[in-house]
């Protein structure tokens, strides 16, 4: 569905990544994991069109595009809810800006609110609800984008452990029930192993893919199986090795 | 040792007496920026007439015209130059000032306008827009002037300091307040011809445009020095009548920032008005005070005999 080839970006005369290749398959959950701050967010900036790459191509369903700005939805660490709009109004923003039937959008949003456990809080302002609820509202907004691909930039790292767990299951819901394709960045190995179908290990700068691992088994149940525990050890070792060679 | 000690004693005594013979300081606050009306004061200073009488005069410009009266009354300055009308207002308001001398003995204030065939008497200003320069003072005088001359229909507009632009732009047809010795000159230098109605010729009692005032307490404390000041100014005035060109030169030397062309022309017009020696005329002042009461310039009557000090 999405294919990136030969992507290069230089920032402040330092190569962030060069010759970066990546393929994301439809309705699969791809996770990029690597040490903090070594270029993963810059990759997303390039994919979303915030900055242009110095080299390389982005292919969407076989045809070349400049960026995924109109094709992907985006979720960030920060919920990015506008403080002056209610939760419902926030979730309706993509429909307002993108055009389309607001009445229909409204009922869809209400359904999603109830599906994600936010019923009754539609009229609340963001400062009146908890961080987890805000992130769930952000999820609704992301779904309201109605785009097949969702880019997730460490969306859960700012949350406490319990809220995190809840939202991780919601992300899996996006894949199973809402039929989305997801590409996520994280630096939490447990999270990666829990969610990913295709797991990409990233190196430190200049960023490249050290290894691609395909994961099988029921999500989330599989986390405690011995195979995955062994996998986790291996991954940790690999990432540490890489850091020893080349600290960011 | 003895010789040296007595030398020191002699020197110290000398300085002690020299010190006590040093000049008496007087502060004088003008009514406005130094201008040709103040010429006698500057001539007196430059020619050493103050020093001769043991006086050291410090001349200060005010931030605005009412300052002098207030500060003289409170004793913050020893003397001030002021206007008869405003002094009468001050006396009526209870300020304890005394009139101690004269500088300009007749009115210079006029109702001024651009020279025109259409305006020959105040009646010709019927229905026109008349500007005035100081609210609370000039508007009242304007009202008196108009009522005395039978002009009922006119519009009074406060033009602040912008006398000439207001006339030229046609915002007003005449202005109450400009001096016939000054604005006429500045306007002539801009190729504008001015004409005017003199107040004292059209019903306003004659008054002294510029006078010297001081606080009552200052008068009792520094009377001798103030008398010396007044005598020095009178001498300077006598001198300038005999030697006008020289006096003008002295004045311009004392005030290098003055516009010599304007001041020179203004000087010729002002010459006849510098006050002759002698104090203010209490009777004439009373006439003006009564006139002020009658026309609402003051609220409480003023007895000018108490106001004017005769040396």
């Amino acid at each position: 569905m999405l294919s990136v080839s030969g992507l290069s970006k230089v920032f402040d005369q330092q190569p962030v990544f060069s010759g970066f290749d990546l393929t994301v398959t439809r309705n699969r959950f791809a996770v990029l994991i690597g040490p903090s701050g070594c270029g993963k967010s810059t990759l997303f900036d390039v994919l979303t069109g915030v900055t242009a790459p110095d080299e390389g191509r982005i292919l969407w369903q076989e045809s070349e595009v400049a960026h995924l700005g109109d094709l992907a939805a985006y979720m960030h660490q920060k919920d990015l809810l506008l403080p002056w709009f209610s939760l419902l109004e926030n979730s309706l923003l993509p429909s307002r800006t993108g055009g389309g039937d607001l009445k229909q959008a409204r009922s869809r949003a209400m359904q999603l609110f109830s599906r994600l456990g936010l019923s009754g809080y539609e009229k609340y302002l963001p400062y009146q609800v908890s961080g987890g609820m805000r992130q769930r509202c952000a999820l609704v907004r992301t779904l309201m984008f109605n785009r097949d691909l969702i880019l997730l930039d460490e969306p859960l790292s700012a949350l406490d452990a319990i809220t995190r767990k809840r939202l991780q299951s919601l992300l899996l819901l996006l894949q199973s029930e809402f039929d989305r394709t997801l590409l996520m960045i994280t630096h939490d190995v447990d999270e990666a192993l829990l969610l990913a179908d295709d797991l990409y290990l990233l190196s430190a700068k200049p960023m490249r893919i050290i290894e691609k691992i395909e994961l099988h088994g029921d999500k989330p149940g599989r986390l405690n199986t011995p195979q995955l525990l062994a996998m986790k050890d291996m991954i940790m070792k690999r990432l540490e090795e890489d850091i020893d060679h080349d600290p960011c | 040792m003895r010789k040296q000690l007595s030398a020191i004693v002699v020197i110290c005594t000398f300085f002690f007496f020299a010190g006590s013979a040093s000049a008496q300081k007087l502060t004088l606050m003008l009514d406005w920026f130094p201008n040709i009306d103040h010429l006698p004061i500057y001539v007196a200073q430059e020619k050493g007439l103050f020093a001769e009488r043991g006086l050291e005069v410090e001349i200060i410009s005010p931030s605005e015209t009412a300052d002098g009266l207030k500060l003289a009354a409170s004793g913050n300055v020893d003397m001030a130059v002021s206007y008869e009308p405003q002094t009468i207002i001050a006396a009526s308001a209870g300020l304890d000032v005394k009139v101690v001398g004269r500088l300009i003995e007749h009115p210079l204030t006029t109702l001024l306008f651009l020279k025109s065939e259409a305006i020959k008497t105040p009646k010709d200003l019927e229905g026109k827009k008349i500007g005035y320069t100081v609210p609370g003072l000039m508007d009242v005088i304007l009202k008196a002037f108009m009522s005395i001359n039978g002009v009922d229909n006119y519009e009074a507009i406060n033009v602040g300091f912008t006398i000439v632009p207001a006339l030229v732009a046609g915002n007003v047809d005449a202005v109450m307040g400009p001096f016939k010795t000054y604005e006429t000159v500045t306007m002539a230098h801009q190729n504008l011809e001015a004409d005017y109605f003199e107040l004292e010729k059209w019903g306003i009692p004659d008054y002294e445009e510029l006078i010297f005032v001081c606080g009552a307490r200052t008068l009792s404390e520094k009377g001798e020095s103030i008398k010396g000041f007044i005598r020095a100014v009178e001498t300077a005035t006598a001198y300038l009548r005999k030697h006008p060109e020289a006096a003008l030169k002295t004045y311009l030397k004392a005030l290098p920032e003055a516009d010599s062309r304007v001041e020179t022309d203004a000087f010729r017009l002002t010459l006849p008005f510098y006050a002759a020696p002698g104090g203010s005329n209490a009777a004439a002042w009373q006439q003006f005070a009564d006139f002020s009461l009658q026309h609402g310039l003051i609220e409480k009557p003023v007895v000018t005999e108490d106001l004017i000090h005769i040396w």
């Binding site: 985006y74 002056w84 307002r96 | 033009v159 602040g160 207001a166």
Partner: protein, 252 residues
Amino acid sequence: MTRANLLALAILILLLGLWEVACWMFTIPVFILPPPSIIMSTAVLKAPLILPHAMTTGLEIICGIALALAVAIPLAIGMFAFPWLEKALSPFLVTSQAIPVFALAPLLVVWLGYGMAGKILMAAIIIFFPITVSLLEGFKGCDHEFRVLFRLMGAGFWQTMRLLYWPWALPHFFAGLRVGVTVATIGAVIGEWVGAQSGLGFLMIQANARLKVDLVFAVILWLSLMGLALWYGVGWLEKKSIFWRNNQQILE
């Protein structure tokens, strides 16, 4: 009344008390510096005289603020939308503030006459700059991630202005407005000093010429109260407009 308010009130009473005592103790003449008791009684007793002038000046200030907003808001939006415009206008904007305002007053009187127009313009000139600058800073201060979000949502500049930039900049806007509003009184009064037919500045000159210094100070008192009223008025407006809490808190 909160503790802070009580303290402020106490300090005020103390200062006024010292002033009053100093006037009597040093027998300062009333025509130099009147004591607070006389100022306040004049301000109340002469209220019928002062009120029409206060209304004139008040009207000049309100119109000046309206004019300033009418210029400042489009200007800030324009400079934000077109960075080249900001670069081009910056030197002029800064210079406009460096010129002493009382130098402009006589010119405005000559050009615009002795009515209210010149005073309104004076007030507007003084306050449009802080408002423009704060508003522009508010726009520019919008977090980068929000701008990306809006771009991804396909929102155009004006939609983003309406939904994101403007609400974001409101706190900055009100900060600028509060500063501007208190200085607007200065602009109007200075305009009146140079030539006016009514207004508190006019009344001050008139009172001064008649050596009624207590009235001068009473007028100053009225002006201060007007300034305070404007300050609190804007504060109230701000509270109503920014009905969410400081958005900085939420964005952690």
